[in-house]
C-alpha cells in the first residue's frame, strides 16, 4: 500500500486500534488533518485548547487502560500540551502525543510556530522522537505505542516535520507487527528468590500493612491485590493514585495514607513492623518526614521500575517486575505454605487499629446551616451508588472526594496525583465519557480549578459527552487558604477569588444545564435531578462553607504520627 506521510500517521493509529484522537489543527499538521478527513475509522475530537486534549486523552487512558492519543500542531500547539504531558508522566499514564513540526529545511531557523518540541518535552516524557524520514514514520509510531504501554507506562511524543507528511510524496506502508529495541527490556516477572524472602517476612509479621498504589491500577492487578489482602487478612491502605484497586468499603481497608490520610492508616504505618508496598513509590505526600517514616518496619517493595526502588526510602526486599505476575507468584507460594493467615493471627494488631478507628478522623460538623463540602461528596456517593467515574481537579475538593467517596473498583477515581494539575478534571471527565459512554461521570472541582480548562464545556456540547460538574464553590483557593491558616497565621495572600462568574449562567451559555445550590436540604435533590438528566451536562454550583479544612493533616516535614485532627474528631492533635 502506497501512502503519504500524513496518511501513514492515521493508518498507524488505525492499525494500533486507536478509537479517538484528541487534538487541535494548525499549519504543520494540516496534511495529517487532511488524512483524518478522508477516513472514518479513527475519530477526531476537536478540543478548545491543547491542554484539554492531553487531559481528555489522559482521562480516556486512566479509565480504559488503553493509551490516550493526542494530535497537536507545532509551536504553541506543542507548548500548550506540555502541562498535560507532564501530568501523564508523573502518574505513569500511557499516552502518545503527535506534534507537528516545521518542515525539515527550516528547522533551527526560528521559523513561524517553531519550537524545539523534543527538547522542551524531554524531561516530562518517557521518550520522544523527531521523525526525520517518511519511511521511519510507521516504525516510530509502533515504537511510541510500545514504549508508552509497556514497563512503567508514560507519555511518548512523536514530533513530525510537515514536509514528510506531504500528500504528494508516497511510500509503501506496512505497519510493523512488533518492534524490539536493544536498549529497552522492561522486567516482567519478579525474582523468585526475592519473593521467597518476602514470604518469610510476611510469616513473621506481627503488625503488617499492605500499602498499595497506582501501579496496581496500571498493572491491572486489582483482583490479585484483593486476593492477597483477603488471604493474609492484613490491613490495606492505599495512596491517592491507588484508590479503588482494593475496595474502599472493605473492612480491611483502613483508608488512604499520607498528608490527608486517615488517622488509622498513618498510625498503622508508623507502628508497623512490615510494610508491603505494591506499585507505590513512596511519594513525599505519602511518607511525610523521611527520617521518621515507618521507623519499626521492614519494607517489601514491588515495582516495575527499578529506579523506584530505594529512591527515597531504603527497602529491605525489593521485587522488580509487573505487579500482577509477582502477586500471583506470592499467592501461589503462600498457598503452598499450608499456613493459616487471617485476622486472628494478628488479632492484637487489628485491636489496635480498631482503637485508632474510634478517633473517627473523618467526622465533620454536621449540625450547620452551611453546605459542608464533605456532605456534598457523601450525597454524590449515595446518588450514584458509589458506581460513578469521578474525576477531580486539585485542592481541597480533591481530598474530600478521595476521603468521602470510597471506590470499590479500579479506574473509577481519576485525578492528577503527581503533578497536581488544576484544570485536569473537566477535560479528563470528557475523556472518561468517550471510553464509557453509558457510565455516570462526575467531575468534582472547585471554583478555582474549573476556570483553568473551562473552555472544554464547548467540546462537551459538540460531542455530546454528558458529565456532572460538582463545583464545590467556597470562594477560596481552599487548599492554599488552609495552608495560609495553618502556617501563615491566616494571612490569606491572594487565595480569595473575587469577581467569580455566575456559573449557572455560564453553563447555560455553553448550552448546558446550570444549577446553583445554596441550601443543605437541596443538595441531594439537586444531585438526583442532575443525574436523572442522562443526556445533559449539568453544572452544579454548590456554595459551600468557606472555612472548612481538610483533616487529618500531616503538615509538611512532619511524621505519620503527628497529625492535625478535625475539631469534630474525638482526638484533637495527636502526638505520640
Amino acid at each position: 500500500m502506497e501512502l503519504s506521510g500524513g496518511e501513514i500517521v492515521i493508518q498507524s493509529l488505525k492499525d494500533e486500534g486507536v478509537e479517538y484522537v484528541f487534538g487541535y489543527p494548525g499549519g504543520c499538521v494540516l496534511h495529517i488533518y487532511d488524512a483524518i478527513f478522508k477516513q472514518d475509522d479513527v475519530k477526531h475530537v476537536l478540543v478548545r485548547h491543547e491542554q484539554g486534549a492531553t487531559h481528555a486523552a489522559d482521562g480516556y487512558a486512566r479509565s480504559s487502560g488503553k493509551p490516550g492519543v493526542v494530535l497537536v500542531t507545532s509551536g504553541p500547539g506543542a507548548t500548550n500540551a506540555i502541562t498535560g504531558i507532564a501530568t501523564a508522566y508523573m502518574d505513569s499514564i500511557p499516552m502518545v502525543v503527535i506534534t507537528g513540526q516545521v518542515p525539515r529545511p527550516v528547522i533551527g531557523t526560528d521559523a513561524f510556530q517553531e519550537v524545539d518540541t523534543v527538547g522542551i518535552t524531554r524531561p516530562c516524557v518517557k521518550h520522544n522522537f523527531l521523525v526525520k524520514d517518511i519511511s521511519d514514520i510507521a516504525e516510530t509510531m509502533k515504537k511510541a505505542f510500545y514504549l508508552a504501554t509497556t514497563g512503567r507506562p508514560g507519555p511518548v511524543v512523536v514530533d513530525i516535520p510537515k514536509d514528510i507528511t506531504d500528500p504528494n510524496i508516497k511510500v509503501s506502508y506496512q505497519y510493523p507487527e512488533e518492534v524490539s529495541m536493544r536498549s529497552y527490556h522492561p522486567t516482567v516477572s519478579g525474582n523468585i528468590g526475592q519473593t521467597r524472602k518476602a514470604i518469610k517476612l510476611i510469616k513473621e509479621a506481627k503488625r503488617p500493612v499492605i500499602y498499595s498504589g497506582g501501579g496496581v491500577v496500571l498493572g491491572e492487578a486489582s483482583e490479585e491485590l484483593k486476593q492477597l489482602g483477603r488471604t493474609l487478612g492484613f490491613p490495606v491502605t492505599q495512596t491517592l493514585m491507588g484508590l479503588g484497586a482494593f475496595p474502599g468499603t472493605d473492612p480491611q481497608f483502613i483508608g488512604m495514607l499520607g498528608m490527608h490520610g486517615t488517622y488509622e492508616a498513618n498510625m498503622a504505618m508508623h507502628d508497623s513492623d512490615l510494610i508491603i508496598a505494591i506499585g507505590a513509590r513512596f511519594d513525599d505526600r505519602v511518607t511525610g518526614k523521611v527520617a521518621d517514616f515507618c521507623p519499626h518496619a521492614k519494607i517489601i517493595h514491588i515495582d516495575v521500575d527499578p529506579a523506584s526502588i530505594s529512591k527515597t526510602i531504603t527497602v529491605d526486599v525489593p521485587i522488580v517486575g509487573q505487579v500482577k505476575p509477582i502477586l500471583l507468584d506470592m499467592l501461589a507460594q503462600l498457598q503452598s505454605l499450608g499456613e493459616t493467615f487471617d485476622r486472628a493471627r494478628i488479632g492484637a494488631w487489628w485491636d489496635q487499629i480498631d482503637q485508632w478507628r474510634e478517633a473517627d478522623c473523618l467526622a465533620y460538623e454536621k449540625d450547620t446551616d452551611t453546605i459542608k463540602p464533605q456532605f456534598v461528596i457523601e450525597q454524590l456517593y449515595n446518588v450514584t451508588n458509589g458506581e460513578a467515574f469521578v474525576t477531580s481537579d486539585v485542592g481541597q475538593h480533591q481530598m474530600f472526594a478521595a476521603q468521602y467517596y470510597p471506590f470499590d473498583k479500579p479506574r473509577r477515581w481519576i485525578n492528577s496525583g503527581g503533578l497536581g494539575t488544576m484544570g485536569f478534571g473537566l477535560p479528563a471527565a470528557m475523556g472518561v465519557k468517550f471510553a464509557h459512554p453509558e457510565a455516570d461521570v462526575a467531575c468534582v472541582t472547585g471554583e478555582g480549578s474549573i476556570q483553568m480548562c473551562l473552555q472544554e464545556l464547548s467540546t462537551m456540547l459538540q460531542y455530546d459527552t454528558p458529565v456532572k460538574v460538582i463545583n464545590l464553590n467556597n470562594g477560596y483557593l481552599g487548599m492554599v487558604r488552609q495552608w495560609q491558616e495553618f502556617t501563615y497565621k491566616s494571612r490569606y495572600s491572594h487565595s480569595y477569588l473575587e469577581a467569580l462568574p455566575d456559573f449557572k449562567k455560564l453553563a447555560e451559555a455553553y448550552g448546558h444545564v446550570g444549577m446553583q445550590i445554596t441550601k443543605k436540604e437541596d443538595v441531594e435533590p439537586a444531585l438526583r435531578e442532575a443525574f436523572s438528566m442522562k443526556d445533559r451536562t449539568v453544572f452544579l454550583d454548590f456554595l459551600t462553607d468557606t472555612k472548612e479544612n481538610v483533616y487529618p493533616m500531616i503538615e509538611a516535614g512532619k511524621a505519620h504520627n503527628d497529625m492535625v485532627m478535625a475539631p469534630s474528631s474525638k482526638y484533637k492533635r495527636i502526638l505520640a
Partner: protein, 164 residues
C-alpha cells in the same frame, strides 16, 4: 559518604541522546565532574564516560535513572571494577629556559612532553590518571596560561568489557 565514580555508557548514536543524559543530571541535581562522548567502532553506538560524585545511594539512583533512559543501551560503573582510567590534558605556557627545564624534570615521572613550540609559547601534552594531572597542574601553578582537559575515559581491565 560521597565518593567519585566513573560511569561508562553505550548510547544510541542519535541526535539528542547526549542531552537526555546531561538533562537527567541537571533535572535531578546530580553532579557531573566531567563528561566525554564519541562514536565507537560500531557507528550506531556512542560511548559516554562521566565522572560524578555522590553517596552510595545517590550513585545507585544515578545508575538506575541512566539505565531507564531509552537511549542508554548498557552501563558500567568502572569504579566498581579493576579498571584503567586516563585523561589527556593540553596546556600552554610561556617559553623560557627555566620552564623547559622544569617540564623536563617533571616529565621523568609524568610522561609530559612539549608538543608544540610556536612564537615563544609551548603546548604541553600529558596523559594519565586524573590525580597525576591535577598534581602536574598545581606544580606549574600560575605559569599556566591556558588549559584544556578531555575528561576521564576508562576501560575495565581483563575480560570484562562494555559491549552489546
Amino acid at each position: 559518604m560521597s565518593r567519585q565514580h566513573i560511569i561508562s555508557l553505550l548510547l544510541e548514536n542519535e541526535a539528542g541522546a547526549l542531552s537526555r543524559v546531561s538533562g537527567l543530571f541537571s533535572a535531578r541535581a546530580y553532579n557531573i565532574e566531567s563528561l566525554t562522548v564519541a562514536a565507537t567502532q560500531d557507528p550506531t553506538l556512542s560511548r559516554l564516560t562521566l565522572v560524578t560524585v555522590g553517596s552510595d545511594e545517590t550513585i545507585e539512583q544515578i545508575k538506575k535513572q541512566l539505565n531507564k533512559l531509552i537511549d542508554v543501551v548498557k552501563l558500567i560503573d568502572l569504579s566498581e571494577s579493576f579498571s584503567l582510567e586516563r585523561e589527556l590534558i593540553l596546556l600552554k605556557v610561556k617559553k623560557s629556559d627555566a620552564m623547559v627545564q622544569k617540564i623536563e624534570s617533571l616529565s621523568v615521572e609524568s610522561s609530559a612532553r612539549i608538543t608544540d613550540d610556536t612564537d615563544g609559547y609551548l603546548i604541553i601534552e600529558l596523559t594519565g590518571e586524573k590525580v597525576w594531572l591535577d598534581d602536574f597542574l598545581s606544580s606549574l601553578a600560575d605559569e599556566v596560561l591556558e588549559v584544556v582537559r578531555t575528561g576521564v575515559v576508562g576501560l575495565s581491565r581483563g575480560e570484562r568489557s562494555l559491549t552489546v
